[in-house]
Subunit: 339 residues, 2 copies
DNA sequence: TTGTAGGCGTTATCAC
DNA sequence: GTGATAACGCCTACAA
């Protein structure tokens, strides 16, 4: 509406030159105290707000970091986003978020948007952009990849050991006496999903339990596929005493699917998820889940980018954040020891 | 890293003037076809991305809309954010999100950040900014308030009838035979929370059920206070056969609190929430809840801002989005009819 | 210590 | 049709 207040306006009001105003505002030491006061007073009175576009244009830096997230409504990405938000607080950098919707072309468009806005760096959460595109981006911009490990970009990837996490979950179930363990996978094209399946198989092999393909259902990381998995197994007559879902959302779906058939968790079937979302602590029953330090990953990503920005030469190796199992109440000891 | 490609670079590569490049890129009709081709080719080859700062500076419009949200991790705000995202898709406007954390000073800082970035309009979700500040903002910028009704700014507020919603929930429980209905309120300083309490009282009064202050527990809209409410009532020996929580998150907390005491929902106690979050559909049991059209509210907000931007004179009255009750499985008919 | 002037990348207004 | 050129708001040598 009303034209915004500019430095020129302040200069006029305080009866000084625009450079004096600029210097004062930027804390330059060499300004006469009285003028300084007059400028500050005028700026406050007029309600001056610096124009980031103009500053960015002349400084060549916008002090904003672009974050490509996949789904603003997903609890998974939100936890990471919250960490990023926290990680930048006080650094002067401002994260701005855009959505890729898990679609390669949306992601490209979103990144272009970010670059148009002159972001100083990029944080990419998951996604389907292929490695080549990521390499191209990495060559031009400070970049951090979260939840994804790309060959040649290890230094800039923040990932967790998904194989180990899945192994942890499956081994826990085995130790609790389960031998027929269903696994609901994530989207098969995603590395995370593949790694978790791998961890599941590994744990079975170590315990000398034969891998049964019937016990693996391909899900899509959404609640719906958890329900479908259960319905499918029940319809096929597949026997199982426990389920390991590749994320918590699918575990919730499975839980509901079981409830509808009057099968209790953990009384009849044990359940383990992956991600340890905030909601899982208060789920019913509280869900045993592989703890991904999502918030911390966001924080780390923010720090990593900051380092690349301030000290681009000093190569930094992102720390490997540990994966642990949050044991809660959704697993029960299996007395039946059904074959 | 590498300097970004500019119009100047394209001009050099295509051997034309920068004005011709600019015209071509902006789709001006009067450019010779061959030059046009050369420009487009060079732009593509060089990977040109326009500089939004520079465009914003000269055009006076940034084509971005600032959205002040409170908590990026809250499922409530995320649903609205998703609607906003969808509402702007295809309009050329780009929403950018910042967090206020439910704190007045953070909110002010966040809004200043947005203004620095020359947003063309503001969408404010909830928050604690006082009416005077909002009026000041509204005087200077296109503005839409979501989930909040401010005197004098009705035209720019998108709110729902919380009293009616709470009445709906409570009346449903009464019709299902419940007379001792606990209510977990939201943060007492928030208008929404007060309105929902009001709706609860109204429904009781209509049914000639005496209001019992013991049955009202002051929560804070987070899961934890749902657990506390249940613990409190149980410790006090307060009798109830149903609970109406002022939002779904507290309802989930209550459900867990009851589960811990081996009280079943809906077998022993019925439960109704407010917001109808996506998670409530797959909760256990699926939660009966007052449906807030969160996604639609976001969409509406986006549209409203767009209208203010394109036709500032034509006053628009935001439609009052209807509140309905999503009846699911967390309420059971109360045979006991306890006094 | 202060002011003037040039330039960041883009669009728009002029002449040609 | 096309190409200089003046803004847009700000910062920063450079001069004074």
């Amino acid at each position: 509406m009303n034209r915004n207040v500019t430095i020129k306006d302040i200069a006029k009001a305080a009866n000084v030159s625009i450079s004096t105003v600029s210097r004062t505002l930027n804390g330059s030491p060499i300004v006469a105290p009285d003028k300084q006061r007059r400028v500050m007073e005028a700026a406050a009175r007029l309600g001056y707000v610096p124009n980031a576009s103009a500053q960015g244009l002349v400084r060549g830096r916008s002090m904003t970091i672009g974050v490509l997230t996949q789904d603003i409504a997903s609890p998974f990405y939100n936890e990471v986003a919250r960490g990023i938000d926290a990680g930048f607080s006080g650094t002067g950098y401002q994260p701005i978020f855009v959505n890729g919707h898990w679609q390669s072309q949306d992601e490209s468009a979103a990144i272009t948007t970010l670059i148009r806005h002159q972001v100083d760096g990029l944080i990419i959460l998951g996604g389907r952009l292929d490695d080549e595109q990521l390499h191209k981006l990495a060559a031009r911009y400070p970049l951090v990849l979260v939840g994804r490990r790309v060959a040649g970009l290890e230094r800039r990837s923040l990932a967790v050991d998904n194989v180990h996490g899945a192994w942890l979950a499956t081994t826990h179930l085995i130790q609790m006496g389960h031998r027929r363990i269903g696994h609901i996978t994530g989207v098969a094209s995603q590395r995370d999903a593949l790694d978790r399946l791998e961890g599941y198989r590994l744990a079975l092999a170590e315990a000398n339990i034969a891998f049964d393909p019937k016990l693996v259902y391909e899900g899509d990381f959404n609640e719906g596929s958890g329900i479908q998995a259960v319905d499918h197994w029940l319809a096929q007559g597949t026997v199982f005493s426990a389920i390991f879902a590749a994320n918590d959302q699918m575990a919730f779906g499975a839980r509901l699917g079981l409830y509808r058939k009057d099968i209790r968790v953990p009384d009849d079937v044990s359940l383990v998820g992956f991600d340890d979302l905030p909601a899982s602590r208060i789920a019913l029953p509280p869900l045993t889940s592989v703890h991904q330090p999502l918030f911390e990953m966001g924080e780390q990503a923010a720090q990593l980018i900051s380092q690349q920005l301030t000290a681009p030469d000093r190569p930094t190796t992102p720390p490997l954040l540990p994966l642990t199992l949050s044991v809660r109440e959704s697993v029960r000891y299996n007395r039946a020891l059904a074959p």
